[in-house]
Amino acid sequence: MQERTALPPQFDRPIMLGGLLAGAVATPLLVVLVALRVVGLISSPEVVFWMAFGVVLAGALGTVMLSNIVHAALALVFTLLGIAAIYLLLGQEFLALAQVLVYGGGVTILIVFGLMLTNATEDPIVSDGAQKPFAFGVGILLALVFAVALLGHHWPAVGPAVISGAEFGERLFGEYTLAILTVGVLLDIALSGALLIARPDSPEESAE
């Protein structure tokens, strides 16, 4: 039984700083968006989209840049939840829900477990690899390539179709029953495998 301890001191300042920073950036953005909406230059969904856009990218940047693993994991949660909002904007209720449940819930918890089981909780600060500058270059280049590809193409100006959860479910368990079952089996096998791999295979090892 472990004694309940206060939050370790090194957790305090960054969280507060992060909160302040996020607030400092998010507030003007919010103001601008609301102002644009009031003026009528953008519609309400667009306001939501740009807000989600900011959250997702800020979270992603946090994930890959923060040197504290725990902070990075937190940032990831923001991103994943932001993506759920994007799904909603695209009219996919069910997928948004799944995203929140699976990613925002399951995956995040798994990752936190992983952090706890490795010694990340004792020493959460990690340095980045030596090839960080290259990685940066590659990232920028990739973004450029995608952007060029994206903007060089003329896309049809139609809106998204809304697919309700009911309709989704019907089709999922109608046409795609076999596929969904296969995925289930796959998940089962994968998790059993994970268990098998992670399990200590000798008593001495488990005693460690």
């Binding site: 690899g129 290259f134 990685a135 590659v138 280049l141 990739l142 590809a149 060089g152």
Partner: protein, 637 residues
């Protein structure tokens, strides 16, 4: 037996070879009687064929019905005549002479061998190979196709190889056999090239057709000259002419009857036969003909001088053979088939007689160095007499066979080429001189090796019979040249006219202007020989000391063998060494192993790319994705 069935002649001894080589251990007496019977049959058939040929004569002209003297059989035929090799035989006067000489001398040698080779370990094998030789030689002289001529040519070369190396346990015999085969093979390279060059233009291997085409001018003169000189190379090799003469003296390592048959009477004259057979073509190209002439002339002199100093009785005879073959080539070079074939005929008889005589001596004494013999006339009277007859024939003394034929050659030379005449006359004197030396050292004087002398005894009748028969021929065969004798034998116009089957008939001529000086010269040489070697050997020794360098030069055969050895050691094996080094270092080590090692080295260097760090791999993959996507974008537009 008619002329077109002459293919039977080679077939019989070939059959004997097959029987003997397979069953000689089973047959009684190792099957020697099979060989002798076979050869006897061949002699009979040969005489019948000659009789048939003689029957085809009328009015002094050689004119058998067309095709009556040939036999043809298609052996190879590609593209309906593009390449047609016929097995064909042809019978004319040259063939007649050759067939008779070969079969008769072979029979004599077979008989002699029964005694000489008695008790040998490989007695049956000896007769088998000797029969094969006879078959190949008969094929050589009867065929009309150059390809089959070549086949037989190599066949006699092979049997000669096997027989020279008959005592293969002796390293020297094995070496001599090898030397003989390779040296003649060098000549055969030229021979085969010549054959193919002729075919290339004419499209036929048929000798008579080739002669016909050449006379019609199917070949350009230069081309024909080159071809004929190549063809002559074969003759040079087989007939041991300069510069390929070196094998013949060494070939005396074989059993003596073999030397008599192969290396004196028959195989070595194959070259003479070849040139005689194709002489009408040589006639068209003076350069090639002069080439033949001077090769023969030079060889005749060179070999005669070497014969003066040789110590081995068989080697002396071998040199004299080389020299006499030179005489024949001179005759051919002068365009006289008659003289050449006549000398070939008489030479075959007296030289095989001499060899068999020396065989008798060796059989009796187991000694063949003349310096260790002497005084044998008391022990071997018949051998002495027959050997002397042969020697006189060789020396060219009236009335022995050699006189008439040599005189014929001298006459031709006198008329056509005085230089050649002078040289030949001198050589004839040298011949008489070394012949006298051998006879005197062997049979006269005191025995120098008492042990050998004491054990000597005259050979048995089976060996003496051939000696006597051949001595008779050595004495008498010269007379066939006379018109009357020729007519008596059934040849209208005399033998001389017959042998010239082509061009102007040339009957035998006898000129005292030529014959008398030659005889006098020969007698003088014999006298000088008696002066030097009769009785005691001191004067000979003095002669040797008088010019030691000259003696050394002659004893060492003009250093020709050393020259060849040096050529083989330095040039051929040196080249082989260079090639071997090239093979080892360039092809193998650099080319193959080097390639493998380069790959290995590259792998060793490149393996450091495998850092084992996942981020590095991921970066590589990312770069790949980038490049690919940029390509995809570029391609999409």
């Amino acid at each position: 037996m008619t002329m077109e069935q002459v293919w039977l002649l080679p077939a019989i001894p070939a059959g004997v070879f097959v029987i003997l080589s397979l069953f000689n251990r089973v047959l009684p007496r190792r099957g020697d009687f099979v060989a002798v019977l076979g050869m006897g049959t061949v002699v009979v058939l040969a005489v019948l064929a000659i009789a048939d040929f003689q029957g085809a004569f009328h009015d002094g002209h050689f004119a058998p019905a067309p095709g009556a003297n040939t036999y043809e059989f298609t052996w190879v035929n590609i593209g309906d005549g593009v390449l047609r090799i016929m097995f064909s035989t042809y019978f004319d006067a040259i063939t007649a002479v050759m067939v008779f000489v070969v079969s008769f001398v072979a029979l004599m040698v077979f008989l002699f061998s029964i005694g000489y080779m008695h008790g040998e370990e490989r007695y049956g094998w000896y007769f088998a190979v000797l029969s094969l030789f006879a078959g190949a030689m008969l094929l050589l002289v009867t065929t009309n196709s150059l390809i089959f001529l070549y086949l037989a040519w190599e066949g006699v070369g092979l049997t000669s190889y096997l027989l020279i190396g008959f005592y293969w346990e002796r390293q020297s015999a094995a070496e001599a056999a090898k030397k003989a085969f390779i040296t003649t093979r060098v000549g055969d390279v030229g021979f085969l090239i010549g054959i193919i060059l002729l075919w290339r233009v004419a499209g036929t291997f048929d000798i008579q057709e080739l002669i016909h085409l050449a006379e019609e001018g199917a070949f350009s003169e230069t081309y024909l000259t080159v071809s004929m000189i190549f063809l002559f190379m074969g003759a040079v090799g087989k007939s041991a002419q300069f510069p390929l003469h070196v094998w013949l003296p060494d070939a005396m390592e074989g059993p003596t009857p073999v030397s008599a048959l192969i290396h004196a009477a028959t195989m070595v004259v194959a070259g003479v036969y070849l040139v005689a057979r194709t002489l009408p073509i040589f006639d068209l190209v003076p350069i090639a003909q002069n080439f033949v002439l001077y090769t023969g002339l030079f060889t005749a002199v060179m070999a005669a001088t070497q014969g003066l100093v040789a110590n081995d009785i068989k080697r002396v005879l071998a040199y004299s053979t080389v020299s006499q073959l030179g005489f024949m080539f001179v005759a051919l070079g002068l365009g006289s088939v008659t003289a050449a074939m006549f000398h070939l005929l008489t030479h075959a008889f007296f030289k095989s007689l001499l060899f068999l005589g020396s065989g008798s001596v060796i059989h009796a004494t187991h000694q063949q160095e003349v310096e260790h013999l002497g005084g044998l006339w008391r022990k071997l009277p018949i051998t002495t007499v027959t050997f002397s007859i042969g020697s006189l024939a060789l020396a060219g003394i009236v009335p022995f066979a050699g006189f008439w034929s040599k005189d014929e050659i001298l006459l031709e030379a006198f008329e056509l080429n005085p230089f050649a005449y002078a040289v030949l006359a001198g050589t004839a004197a040298l011949t008489a001189l070394y012949t006298t030396r051998v006879v005197l050292l062997t049979f006269a004087g005191r025995p120098r090796d008492q042990h050998a002398y004491d054990h000597a005894h005259e050979s048995g009748p089976i060996m003496l019979l051939p000696l006597v028969l051949l001595a008779t021929l050595a004495l008498g065969s010269g007379f066939v040249a006379f018109d009357g004798v020729g007519r008596a034998l059934g040849f209208v116009g005399g033998i001389g006219q017959v042998v010239t089957s082509h061009g102007e008939p040339h009957s035998f001529a006898f000129h005292p202007n030529i014959a008398v000086p030659a005889t006098v010269l020969a007698l003088l040489a014999i006298g000088a020989g008696f002066e030097y070697w009769g009785g005691n050997a001191i004067r000979a020794e003095r002669a040797r000391q008088w010019a030691p360098e000259l003696h050394a030069l002659l004893v060492n055969r003009y250093y020709m063998d050393n020259l060849y050895q040096a050529f083989i050691d330095r040039v051929v094996l040196g080249l082989a060494g260079i090639v071997a080094r090239f093979e080892k270092s360039v092809v193998n080590e650099s080319g193959v192993d080097g390639g493998a090692q380069t790959l290995n080295w590259m792998g060793f260097r490149l393996k450091f790319l495998q850092t084992g760090r996942i981020p590095n791999y991921a970066l590589g993959m990312a770069l790949g994705v980038l490049v690919l996507s940029i390509f995809a974008l570029g391609g999409g537009e």
